[in-house]
Each structure stands twice: as C-alpha cells, then as structure tokens.
Symmetry: C2
Subunit: 333 residues, 2 copies
Amino acid sequence: MNLPTTQRRFVLARRPEGVPVEADFRMETVALAPPGPGEVTVRTVHLSLDPYVRGTLTGRDLGHPPVHPGELIPGRSVGQVAGTGEWVVTETGWQEYATVPAASVRPVAVPPGVPRTARLGVLGTPGLTAYACVSRLLCPGVGDTVVVSSATGAVGGAAGQLARLAGARTVAIVGGPEKCEIAVEHFGYTAAVDRHDPGWADALAAACPDGVDGYLHMAGGTVLEGVLNRLTVGGRVVLAGLPEHANEVGQTVLPAGALMRTRAVVHGFVVYDHEDLRPRFDRRVGGLVADGRLRLLEEVHEGLESAPGAFVRLMGGHNVGKSIVRVAPEAAP
Amino acid sequence: MNLPTTQRRFVLARRPEGVPVEADFRMETVALAPPGPGEVTVRTVHLSLDPYVRGTLTGRDLGHPPVHPGELIPGRSVGQVAGTGEWVVTETGWQEYATVPAASVRPVAVPPGVPRTARLGVLGTPGLTAYACVSRLLCPGVGDTVVVSSATGAVGGAAGQLARLAGARTVAIVGGPEKCEIAVEHFGYTAAVDRHDPGWADALAAACPDGVDGYLHMAGGTVLEGVLNRLTVGGRVVLAGLPEHANEVGQTVLPAGALMRTRAVVHGFVVYDHEDLRPRFDRRVGGLVADGRLRLLEEVHEGLESAPGAFVRLMGGHNVGKSIVRVAPEAAP
C-alpha cells in the first residue's frame, strides 16, 4: 500500500447550535506526512460515529478534549496499518489516514464469524456501556421489567438483549413504527412503544402491567417523566444519555417526589468510570456475540463524505443500530 | 392512678392547605371508656410531633393510614400504663389517654442518664432515619464532606453527628443565625450556612472547598439545587424529606445533567424500608448517647393545648431540635 501525499478530512466549520447540521462540518484536503519514529500511519476503513463527539464540539464532553473550529473531528476507527495491513482499532478522527503513536493502536480481535466493526459497537465502548449499565447498576432480577430508551441504538440494542438474557421482560422505547418492529423482531424485546405516538404513556403502562423495575435512560425529559410515573418501589434508574448533554437543548429534570415515593436509586453514568469491567465484558459479551445469542445491528454509510449527514442523523435520533462510515474498502498490505 | 371519665383530644378540623395553621385542629372533650380485655390505657406524658403526620392529614403518607376531618391526630408518645405506672412507647395520638392493645406497647428502655424522651427522637424513628441514611446510603469516608439540611432537627442533628463520628467534615444548612450557632456549638458541625442569607450558596462553597461528597436532603428545591452544584464526582445524595411531601407546596426537581456530570447516586429514602437496621441502631446509637458522644436536643412545649402551635412551628421549619409536647407530669402508679 503506497501512501498518497494528500488526504481528505473533516474539520469543525463552526460550533453547532442544538442538533448539528451538515454545514457545521467542512471537508479539507491536506498534506499527508509520512510517519515519524515510533509512529504508524493507519488507513481508516470503518469510522465510528458516536454521540460523545457532539459534546467535544462545545467542549462539554467528560472524557475528551474540546474541538475548536478548524480542528479535526474526533472518531475511533477500525483500520489497517500502512505497510503491514494489520487490522487495528485507534483514534483516527474523520479522515482517510491517521498518523499515530504505534503504542496507541490495538489489534482488532473478534470471535470467528463476527465482523471487525463489532469492535466499534457491541464489542466496543457502546457495548461496554450497555454491559456496565445492566450488570452493575440495573441488576435485573428474573421476571423484572426493564425499560430501555433509544432501544435500537448502539447501546440500547445491546442493553435490551443483556437484560433479557438476565431473565428480565424488556420493553423498548423508540421513535417510529419501523424501530418498534426492529426492537421486537431483531433485538427480542418483549414489547416496544413508539414515543412519537401521543398515547405512548398508556402504551408503556400496558406493556409494563407490573410497573418498571429498571430503566436505562438515553432520551428526552418527557420520556423520563413518563417512565418514572411507572417505576416500582425499589426501582433503579440509570441516566446514560441526555439530549442536552449532546445537543444543548432544554434541561432534563427528575421529580424528587417520585424518587422518594418509589425509594428509587438513580445513577448518573459515564462509561469511563467502568473500565475495570472491560476484561469481563470482553469475555462475556464476546462469547454471546460469537455464539449468536447477542445480535448486532449496523447502519453503514458509504464514503468519508457521508460522515456529516450520518452524524446529523445520529444526533437527531434517526439512526437504526450502530452508525458506521465505510471510509475505504479493505486493502491488501 | 384513677382514670377520669372524660379526656381532651385534638381532631382534624379541616384539611390543611400548604403549611398547616392552628385552625386546622380542633380540641374536643370526649368520654374515656375503661380498657376492655387485652387492652391497656396509657396516660400520654411526652407526645412526639413528627413531619410524617402532615402527610396523613391528606392521605399522602407512605406508612400510615390517612386522617379524615373529625378524626384523632396521630402521634407516638412515651407514657405510663394506667394501674401499673410502667413506662411505655406507643401510638397514642394527640390525646391525654389512649386505650390500646396491650401487645402494641413497648417498654421504654434507655441507657442510664438518658431521658425517656430520647425514644421519640435520637433513639427512635428520627434517629433510625439518620443512622440508615448515614451508615447505609451516604457511607462517608474519612475526610469526606457531608452536608445536612434541616441540620438541627430531630433527624439532621443526629445525622450530622454520625457523619462526623465516621470521620467526615460536616456542614449544616439551617434557617437563621441562631440555628447556625447551635449546629456548630451543640452538634459539632464543622461549619454552618444560613439558607436565609442571600449569599448562602457562596457560603456553602466556602464551607466545602473540596466539594460535597454526600448530602442528606430534607429542605426545599433551592437548597437541593445549590448543593448539587457543589457535588463531587461520585457524590451521594439521599432524599429523606421534601416540603411538598409534607406541605404540598411546589415540586422539587433534580437536574439530570448535574447527576450525569458527577456520576451521582441518588436515593429516595423512606425509613420503613430500613427496620432491619433497628437492632444494630439500638446498640450503636444507644451506646453513643449513653457515653455522651452523641448529643440530643429537644424543644418541649407544655400542655396538650400547645400541640397545634408546636406542629405549625415544626412544619414551618422553625423548630430547634426534636419537638415534644409534655402533655402531663409524671404520675405515681
């Protein structure tokens, strides 16, 4: 593989206001320098799009440095090391090639039959998020009812399946009838509720006749309030995603009275606190994916130029499954 | 002790709106029937006033039946069994004598030198509330900063001392300079903040230079929001009292964003869930009170007729220490 002398990348054109639009991003062609000592150049093949990136664009993300106008948009990728063709996972950003410290890349190990892109979703940080939320904080007991919002997304799809495999009834909250069908048919939720339906709260009540024992929240405040109204005594709530953290719209609040009435436990969740679980997660979820008991779902966008539109779609909550950009085809070394 | 043929009691005159007023209660003189088989008559000596009673007046309490207009106001007392003079704790209500099942009274056991009224406060349900909140949910580590609101009340006074004895720096939030002094001088808080002071949030920040690691909330929403703004990563919050649960005013909410930012854990707390702790509480806190390491503070009102005014004072947050009505002097059997 010969390296070109220039490459394309996306930088921040301006700080987004609310849900991002494509004009917030700008494609540039820049010189590609050869790697220096201790560096490798990675050819981006599969670029992961993740909600945390929205936070970096206004400097509000909890684990990543802020991105200023003119700077590269961050992103993790599965790619190939120039020269060897070795498959690795690394931080590339939204660009065709990334020159990074050799020590910062990790080989892509996936079980037989599992696509390498799983390391960006169900076997990556979104999957770890789901695993930590379910196994450490929601702790569903057999027969418990667990509700998941954004239930067909990268985190939600895995979380719903993990809760079901732990013996829970699982109820999806999603946007639109298409996602309801995917929730039940693909991810095996017991029931699904369309939050765009004006009668969604009644539908949730019908889907949870014994109330809600655990709730994984990654949606808006209306959904949160509706689910808290159905929480059982001793219920557990994990706040793993908020629209205002991502898009800086509105502010989600929890009614303290409902928490006292139900003696609920509410956890604010950030995945970086749960890195200790990663080895166990790799074994457990790796095994479940390998033997087909845990399914993944990806939405693949073709070409680096599709990244802004795909990201806008993700941040608007319109994606179905893990959002990935196929920046380039696989190459021989 | 000869029983009279009539007695005085307080019934609900009308359902309170917001903070109760004295006109919500009505004194009656009623016939006093002698006890039947399996019953005893208890002469009320020390009547406990507690915030949960406010909830029963509108049927919103979580552990007690609702009180309707014309019915006796509930309340627990330390009193003497007619005929034997034995000291017992039992549910008497706001009346001079209570005829109750003999099996429902418990002997008053207090350590030497400790007043019997401690069984209504620091060695009773308020003390158990403080013990469960601190030892089970706030779990202060040595050097942690624990903030307590309503910090000189029956629950708060005990909670602040228990947190201090567990090695924490403790900061009181109270209403007024008099309570600030009591908090520091009597209960041993490291610092106290007057929530009536317009600059109280800055005073809280100054009193908590390393942030707030644990917070026991029994105040209004403004206080809650102010403390959450100072919460450290991994902070713990216990909701043990809300004005709207007591007085049906406003609605307290928690900003979900602050909980995610700090990865906080929030517990809705009702003491009835923690009865399993009572034997350990009796040993631990009984020992601390007996050897003078945990201090109590009571505000005693003389005569049954003072009960409505004292209760109005309690529900307005004006009490200092455990609120008790001395209904009658001690009697010989």
